[in-house]
Structures are given as structure tokens and as C-alpha cells.
Amino acid sequence: MKSIPTPVRILLALLVPALLVPAFPEIVYPVFMMKVLCYALFALAFNLLIGFTGLVSFGHAAFFGWAGYTTGALMIRFSAHGLPVELAILAGIATATAIGWLIGTLAIRRTGIYFSMITLALSQIAYFLAVQIGWTGGEDGMQGIPRGRLLGLIDLSNDNHMYYFTLAVFALGFLAIHRIVHSPFGQVLKALRDNAPRAVSLGYNTDRCKLYAFMLSAALAGLAGSLKALVLQLSALNDVMLTTSTEVLLMTLLGGLGTSWGPVVGAALVVSLQNYLAELGGVVTIIIGLTFIVCVSFFRRGMVGEWQAMLQRRHSKQHNAPIQDRATTTAETPGR
């Protein structure tokens, strides 16, 4: 049988303590863990684009937030009439994918900084729409989103049940992304990132591939958003704001662009920072700024990336495979 790849092994290993979390709420608070899992999934979705395809999107909040709004609105209005929660989540994913298609078809026509600027501009328009469209609740937002019953049986308003559901979705999402990255499609994406002209000359329809990658990333970000709306039972304007897009960028960067577990580590760190620094007083902005500066200057590969690099140096005498990380590859890639 094929041996289990390292990232999946790590997932299995971490599942054991993760399953025990609800039994020890004083050590790790389950709702906090759920929030981390949602943002980790969001960061993984973002990483699919930036880490493996090389496309920097400044507008991922549009997918995250609008999926949350869709799921929230459907659950608030229709869960009492028997709308299953799975359908609401699927609707959220569908919304995110549709917005992803819209923004993607427009953005992929350009590359590099222009691509990023288009995603920025279009997500600002998505924010404007969120303010103007009535049912999003404007800046009051949506509260009290019912969690519903999973498969009509399991009551998700019980925090423990919701926790296991979130954990399952996260694990599936992680595996799905892992599968995508290591599939032939994933190889094409990496080829695109490393040397687009050569990929074109080899006959790949690069635009279509980029669009699919973008839509996949959007769909998964939407899943994360829908899940978060159910976990916290909230959806608000800040979910579609530029600050959320920069937050997920920070999470991915801090953890390690292009690594499997980096975004998860980054998400855990940033969510924890926000939560625990909150009780220190008004220093959160400064600390996040300093984190950006330090990370970009000295820990470009992110925590997981630096860890992998360190392991690599230890094994450098033996046969090894080159580490795929964004920092070094872009140094070799010609052009700006």
C-alpha cells in the first residue's frame, strides 16, 4: 500500500487530542477551537491560490463573508420551516463559487500586481453591496443564526456536537486540498506558478486552470465562511472588509506560504493573538504590524516553512528534494 504522506500523518496525529478537546473545556475552550478551525480552513483555501498557484488575491473576504451571509440568511428565515443545515452550507459555497467565477474571469486576464489590484477593486465593490443590500443587516449584521440539525438528527446548537462537525469538515477540507495539490491538476498549477510561458508552450490552457483554481479557492473559502457563520452564529460587515482579506494573508504568511500546515498554524496564532491580546489593552494593531514586519524581514518562509528549512539543513548530507517555497522560487523566477 502507498505510504501515508507526512501532512496527512500530522492530521491523523492531531486528530487524537482534537477529539478530546470537549472533555477539557478549561484547557482549550471548544468555541475558540471552532473559530480557529474555520479560519484555518479559510487560510488553507487562500494558500491554495497564493502558495501553489502563485496568485495573490486581496479580495478573499468577499467569498468568506458572502457565504456567511447566505447561510445565515437562509438559516434565519427557513430553518424553522425545516431547511436542512447542509443545504444552507451548500448555498453558501455556491454563492462563494459564483462570486469567485465573477471575480476570477475578470482578474485572471492580468498577472502579477494587476491581478491583485483587480481582486482588491472587485472585493471593495462586494463590500459596498453588502452595505447597501438590506438583508445583510448592514453594520448591525446578523445575529442568532440557528445552527439547525445535522441530517435532521444531531442538534448542532449543542457546542460539543457542533465542534465535532466542524472538526470533520475541517479534516475533509484539509484532505481535499491535499488531494488537489498532489493531483495532476495541482502539478499544472505549480508549473504555472514556476514558469507560465513554458506551461503554455506545453499546451496547457493556463487561463482555464487559473480560473478553476480561483473558483476552488473561493468555494473552500466559502465553506469556511458558512461554517464560521454557524459556529459563532454571527455574520457581519467586517467579514467582507479588506481587513479580513489582509488577516488571512497574514495568517498564511506567518504560517508558511505553500506549506500544507503553515496556514493552520498561522490561523491558530492570529486568532489567539486577537483573543488574548484583547485583554491587554489597545496594543493589538501595533503588535500585528510588528508581526508583519518581523515575519516579512526575517521569517519569510513562515513558521512551518522555517521549520522545514531547518529540517532540510539537518538532512542536507543525504539525498533530498528541494523545498518548494515561494521566497526562493521567486528569487529564481525572472521578471518582476
Binding site: 471593495q124 465593490i125 447597501q132 504568511l253 489597545g282 494593531t285 504590524g289 508583519f292 519569510r300
Partner: protein, 300 residues
């Protein structure tokens, strides 16, 4: 919606134009930094804010600390604050930014973004979020009745001064030997270095100059709006759009687009004011799709 008199419309267009001149001046620094140095300076708004605060500190706080002879008036601030801010920019460039040149744009962007957060957080910590008030110098107070509107003298000054600065800068970069040297240096640094030109120094000074331009804009903005830590980041959105639409790296593009967007924003405020911030992004998206290098830029 359309029941607006010609007089009123003229007034609104003038207001839009005044804002446009201001955007043009602020975007120029950003255009220079990106065009010549390929750095996306997300700290531009924060540097703008720091200069405005410095002007106020010089006027209101310095005399309290050192004595009334040390009161820095507007005209002195217009020279000193940009120098200080430009100097700080050079410091940033020499210590941190330099190390990122060989990498993707993204890292320079993130670094400067982090710097912006730190600056904003620090100033909020010391001065609060409501900010402080700064008046125009005595010479420029009051207003002129133009018939269709009452134009504050200071706003007229802003138009004149920013256009002057724009023209001078454009001339410097496009028509002088120094400018030619700069442009050559970014296209082919190795060759120029072979001719004995100190490229790193050139880059450092250019970054400093771009930041100093933000500084001048900051001092000029101080009498127009409440000086608060977020004044720069609110403007940065528009300024970025201006630079991208005008063509990343084209000074003329930044000037022309700044004026055009100011006018467009003014018109939107008349007919559909809720959209006056988002219209800029709509135009940006359109331009990027039709002419990706911007109206005046060259795709790199």
C-alpha cells in the same frame, strides 16, 4: 436627482478639481516609488499622516516644551516635516526595505503595510483617535466670493501649490539629466553601475524623495481635515487606484488621473453620493481590464 443648477454644478466641479489636485500630488510620490523602484509603498498614507502630525506638534506642542521661540509655523513645517518624514523613509529603506528587492512585490507591500499599522497604532496611543485641529496660516485664511460659490483662500492655495509641485517633479524626472539617470538606473542598473553611478544611493534617495512628497501633501492636508491617525489610510485607497489607473510608474499618469478622479468623485457626490468611494474601484477594475498598464503606463 438632476435638478441641479449650472451654478451649483460648477461649484461641485471646482470642489472635485481641488480634491483632484490633492490626489495628484499624493499619488505622485507613490507613482515614483513604484515606477522607479518597484516598491509598493503601503506606508505612504501613514507617512502622510506623520507629516501632518509633525506640523501640528511643531505648532502646538514644541513651544510648550522648548519655549515660544520654537513655534514652527505652517511655512516652516512645509519644509521641515517632509524632510523629517523623508529621512525616516530613508531609514526604513536602508534597514528593512533593501533586503526585499530581489523578492516578489508582495513582500515589500507587506512590510510597508506592517509599518503603516505600527505608525497608526503608535500615534493613536499618544494622540487618541479623534485627532487634533490645525488652522491654515494667517495669510491664507478667509475666502473669496466667486459668485457661484465661496472659495476658501486656502483651498485655492492647495490647487496652485500642488500643481506647481506636480509640474516641477514631472520636469525633474522626465526632462532633466538626473531624471534620465534615474530612469536608466531602474531599467538597467548593472550597466549604469558600470558607468560609476551609485545605484543603491540613488534608490535610497528616490524612496526618500517619494516619501517626502507624501510629507508635503500631509502638511498641506493638515488645515483641510482633522489630523488623526487614520487620515492617511482612508485616502490610500483612492491614491492607489489613481496610481494603478494612471499607470504604475507614470508620473504624468498619476497627475492626470488624480485630477480626473477628483472630478469624477465630485460628480458622483452630486448624483449618487453613497457610491463616491466605490466608483473609484469600479473605474479601476474597468481600466485594468481594458488597459492593464493603465492609461499612461507601460506594462512591465
Amino acid at each position: 436627482m438632476f435638478d441641479i443648477s449650472m451654478q451649483a454644478l460648477a461649484a461641485q466641479l471646482l470642489v472635485g478639481l481641488i480634491n483632484g489636485c490633492f490626489y495628484a500630488m499624493l499619488s505622485m510620490g507613490l507613482a515614483i516609488i513604484f515606477g522607479l523602484l518597484n516598491i509598493i509603498n503601503f506606508a505612504h498614507g501613514a507617512q502622510f499622516m506623520v507629516a501632518a502630525f509633525l506640523a501640528w506638534i511643531g505648532f502646538a506642542q514644541l513651544p510648550l516644551l522648548l519655549g515660544p521661540e520654537f513655534k514652527v509655523n505652517f511655512w516652516a513645517a512645509l519644509v521641515l516635516a517632509p524632510l523629517l518624514v523623508g529621512g525616516l523613509g530613508i531609514l526604513l529603506e536602508k534597514t528593512l526595505l533593501k533586503r526585499l528587492y530581489h523578492l516578489d512585490h508582495l513582500y515589500g507591500l507587506l512590510l510597508t503595510f506592517g509599518v503603516a499599522l505600527v505608525l497608526e497604532g503608535a500615534f493613536r496611543h499618544f494622540y487618541g483617535i479623534s485627532g487634533v485641529s490645525y488652522d491654515p496660516p494667517a495669510l491664507l485664511q478667509g475666502g473669496v466670493d466667486l459668485g457661484f460659490m465661496f472659495l476658501p483662500v486656502y483651498r485655492g492655495f492647495v490647487v496652485v501649490a500642488s500643481l506647481l509641485i506636480c509640474v516641477v517633479t514631472w520636469y525633474l524626472f522626465e526632462k532633466t539629466r538626473l531624471g534620465a539617470l534615474l530612469r536608466a538606473g531602474t531599467e538597467n542598473p548593472k550597466l549604469l553601475q558600470a558607468f560609476g553611478v551609485n545605484i543603491p544611493l540613488m534608490i535610497t534617495l528616490t524612496y526618500g524623495f517619494g516619501v517626502a512628497l507624501a510629507g508635503i501633501a500631509g502638511v498641506m492636508a493638515a488645515p483641510l481635515m482633522q489630523i488623526n491617525p487614520l487620515m492617511g489610510s482612508n485616502l490610500l485607497n483612492i491614491v492607489f487606484a489613481v496610481v494603478v489607473i494612471g499607470g504604475l510608474g507614470s508620473i504624468l499618469g498619476a497627475i492626470a488621473t488624480g485630477l480626473a478622479l477628483g472630478l469624477l468623485e465630485g460628480l458622483t457626490k452630486v448624483f449618487y453620493p453613497e457610491a463616491s468611494t466605490v466608483v473609484v474601484f469600479v473605474i479601476m477594475a474597468l481600466v485594468l481590464l481594458l488597459r492593464p498598464a493603465g492609461m499612461f503606463g507601460k506594462e512591465k
